[in-house]
């Protein structure tokens, strides 16, 4: 290739380049062409930018439209026709399982309430989405949350609307059969006002055991810590799955909060406990030393799954489902889901998961962990407060509960003469569209609970209590978890680990004693 030859881009350009014009004219022509090309480039970029922006605008039309109409709706009285109401929701759990089903979910809410709803359910990074949405001034009418610590932060930062008057004035929500009165304490700020409304009934965690393995090895349900040790050891050493190999573990856990059922033996509760107005962390007290030593013994003897430090809950569940471990600690609802999963695979399976109460403390008391509730909050900048309130009442009514549990009529279930039948899609969705369980005692479940769930929930009601969420817990948790896991895995003597925990917690002003 001859690099000195003129580049022929187009006949017109080459014609211009070859024309016998004066030098100033050539220069001017070149400048014009360059200018033209630049303008075209700039123009196309601007046009594409405008296109994007207009397309974004149209995508978010629901939101924008709701903003535009919001002031009018919010200002209307409760007797205003619901059809005029609009609602924009940011949700982590509630809604359809797929984008298509979400659309039908929104339409179903509109059909049932008359409120025109837009639900945004991010596939991941929900906390990040909430933060960016609120920080950038986006306006939602309802935001779902599941962490009481975060709710307190939201209250402190003025994010949430005070809903006390609404809840107390609401015929539905103030009814103790719909939501037990004492439950509202969970959603109160320091000032005693209510800042959120429950989205579902939240259960708790407890040890879940392979009942069929217990029966096979002729073991009784464990009650004390020694009983637990014997059962777990037998699960590890006596080939409970009958495959002739020593390939089972007694126990698997994921995260420190999961061990509450065992720490119960020493009367220790997770997170903060206020004692005479002072902040204490029982897991960082001297009383926790023998418990960590007990876990270290399990690790040393190969009874505790060695991956417990890096396990996530899915891995832990899979070990349980694949006959690798005889006991895990997890949510009440999962007892049923674990049983159901195995039964769906093999209707003749002997697999039987069962919840057991934690280990008895010195006074015979058992401490289980009640999970933070899922809740709806109305942001302070919400534009459709009235629609949000109407939706919250609907959510706790029978149609709302059926929608949140079974799903959409015609899609997830059919109803004939008051009898509900789940469709194949409904079976796949496991009767959970954000509300697997609810508070409202007036609404009876259309189907029986999955096997084992009721017994697990009874244990939660009997023994589980909420944990105290103080804002400094996230910093304290790092220190406690770090040393506790080291002690449990035997890489650090338990006494040293607790001593170090106390030292660091005090130095960082995270405990008072």
């Amino acid at each position: 290739m001859n690099f000195n030859s003129p580049i022929k881009t187009s006949s017109r350009l080459s014609h211009l380049a070859e024309s016998p014009a004066p030098a100033w004219k050539k220069q001017k022509t070149r400048s014009r062409i360059t200018l033209l090309v630049s303008l075209l480039t700039l123009g196309s970029m601007l046009l594409s930018a405008c296109g994007t922006s207009s397309s974004n605008a149209s995508n978010g039309s629901g939101a924008n439209a709701s903003s535009a109409d919001g002031s009018a709706s919010a200002g209307e009285t409760s007797s205003a026709p619901a059809a005029d109401m609009k609602l924009r929701i940011l949700s982590s759990n509630v809604g359809g399982k797929t984008p298509e089903e979400m659309k039908k979910f929104e339409e179903e809410i509109t059909r049932l309430t008359g409120i025109e709803v837009t639900i945004e359910k991010p596939a991941s990074d929900y906390d990040q989405k909430v933060l960016t949405a609120l920080g950038s001034g986006e306006k939602y009418d309802l935001i779902e949350g599941s962490d009481l610590g975060k709710l307190n932060t939201f209250i402190d930062q003025g994010v949430t609307m005070d809903l006390t008057d609404f809840v107390q004035g609401s015929k539905e929500l103030s009814d103790p059969t719909v939501v037990p009165t004492e439950e509202w304490d969970q959603l109160k700020g320091k000032d005693g006002h209510i800042y959120a409304v429950f989205s579902k009934f939240q259960g708790g965690t407890m040890p879940i055991v392979r009942k069929d393995w217990l029966d096979k090895l002729h073991l009784q349900e464990p009650k004390t810590l020694d009983d637990y040790y014997n059962v777990l050891k037998a699960f590890t050493e006596q080939d409970p799955d009958g495959n002739g190999k020593k390939d089972t573990y007694g126990l698997s856990t994921s995260g420190l909060y999961d061990i509450q059922g065992f720490m119960s033996a020493a009367g220790l509760k997770y997170r903060y406990v206020m004692k005479d107005g002072k902040r204490t962390i029982p897991y960082a007290s001297d009383a926790a030393i023998p418990m960590y030593e007990w876990f270290a013994k399990l690790t040393k003897e190969g009874i505790l799954d060695p991956n417990f430090v890096t396990n996530d809950t899915a891995k832990m569940r899979n070990l349980f489902l694949t006959d690798r471990v005889g006991m895990i600690t997890y949510w009440d609802a999962w007892v049923g889901m674990l049983n159901n999963t195995r039964q769906e695979e093999d209707p003749n399976t002997s697999f039987q998961a069962e919840a057991v109460a934690g280990a008895e403390g010195p006074d015979g008391k058992i401490i289980l962990r009640r999970g933070d509730p899922d809740y709806w909050m109305v942001p302070a900048n919400a534009e459709h407060v009235e629609a949000a309130e109407k939706f919250l009442e609907f959510w706790h009514s029978e149609p709302g509960i059926i929608l949140g549990s079974l799903g959409i009529e015609g899609e997830d279930y059919t109803k004939d003469n008051g009898t509900y039948t789940l469709t194949e899609t409904g079976k796949e969705h496991g009767m959970d569209h954000g509300v697997p369980f609810w508070y409202n005692e007036n609404v009876k479940a259309p189907f029986d609970k999955l096997p084992g769930v009721q017994a697990a929930q009874d244990l939660v009601k009997q023994y589980a209590t909420l944990e105290l969420s103080l804002p400094e817990w996230s910093d304290a948790e790092k220190i406690v978890t770090n040393y506790a896991l080291k002690a449990m895995s035997g890489s650090m003597p338990a006494a040293d680990a607790v001593k170090q925990m106390q030292k660091e917690l005090k130095a960082a002003n995270l405990i008072d004693e």
Partner: protein, 292 residues
């Protein structure tokens, strides 16, 4: 001046979109971050200016300094290993005469760079597992070393972070070095051979000096990323090793996204920015980057 504008006006005009892009997506967030770092940032409502309070909070937070130490150890380790390992491999591959072997090796080395940290992290968590992990099985069967939970032991956590990061990006840096080596004038090797230089002497006196500029670029590019490690730590950390591996970007993530203390997170980000600037300037000075 006006004449220059008339002459090159069109070119300046072409730069407008690029400048706009950087202003909107680069400098505006930076300016906003700086502004937020001086505010008591509430998610909704007024956001009063509080001077340097957020910086004070960060400065007096022992976790910040611990995170900085972790960042420098893990980032520094990754920088050194991530520089030397691909260089050694590139020099070795250059000596391989079979081109099919060279190409295959390059491809295998490059593949991990294409995978996201989620995939790589999951893979290594599985490989390093104490009961079923391949690494422990091999060590146990060949050298009779008892299983170690590498990702849960404080002593190993940082080493694993450095080695996995090096493994992941080795192929990419290796290609950069190989590109530099290929561009070397063959007559230099011919002259060296005529002077009786051995293979090693050719590498020492021809290859290495000739790819010096590539080495400087790779080193500087990697330096820019030292304080920005996040994905890897996010995937591979656990509560047992958190104090040893939580880095500055994770500290910022925790303060901002998990704890909703946006002002403090912004102040920490600004400090990370300043540290990166300082680090880059030091590396530029030490490598005499401008004398390429």
């Amino acid at each position: 001046m006006l004449k220059t504008w008339c002459k090159y006006g069109a070119l300046y005009l072409m730069m407008v979109p690029v400048i706009c892009y950087f202003l909107v997506y680069g400098y505006y967030p930076l300016a906003r971050g700086l502004q937020i770092s001086f505010q008591d940032y509430r998610l909704i409502g007024n956001r009063p200016y509080i001077g340097f309070d957020n910086y004070g909070t960060v400065w007096h937070d022992p976790n910040f300094w611990k995170s900085l130490t972790n960042t420098l150890v893990i980032g520094g380790g990754s920088l050194v290993c991530g520089f030397l390992a691909p260089l050694i491999i590139a020099l070795s591959l250059n000596e391989v005469l079979k081109s099919w072997f060279k190409k295959t090796a390059q491809m295998i080395l490059y593949v991990p760079h294409l995978l996201s940290w989620v995939v790589v992290g999951g893979m290594w968590i599985y490989l390093l597992s104490p009961d079923t992990g391949l690494v422990n099985l091999l060590l146990q069967r060949t050298l009779d070393i008892p299983p170690v939970h590498y990702l849960a032991e404080s002593g190993w956590a940082r080493v694993v972070m450095i080695l996995v990061a090096t493994w992941k990006d080795m192929g990419y840096n290796c290609i950069l070095f190989l590109a530099g080596i290929v561009a070397i004038n063959p007559s230099l090797y011919e002259a060296a051979r005529l002077d009786g230089a051995t293979r090693w002497q050719q590498v020492r006196y021809v290859t290495l000096p000739q790819i010096q500029s590539t080495m400087k670029v790779v080193l500087l590019l990697n330096t820019l990323g030292v304080l920005r490690i996040f994905d890897q730590v996010f995937v591979l950390r656990n509560n047992s090793t958190a104090p040893d591996v939580d880095v500055l970007m994770y500290y910022t993530y925790q303060k901002g996204i998990l704890d909703f203390h946006v002002g403090v997170a912004a102040a920490a980000s600004m400090l990370v920015l300043i540290f990166t600037l300082l680090l880059t300037l030091i590396v530029r000075k030490l490598t005499r980057f401008d004398e390429v």
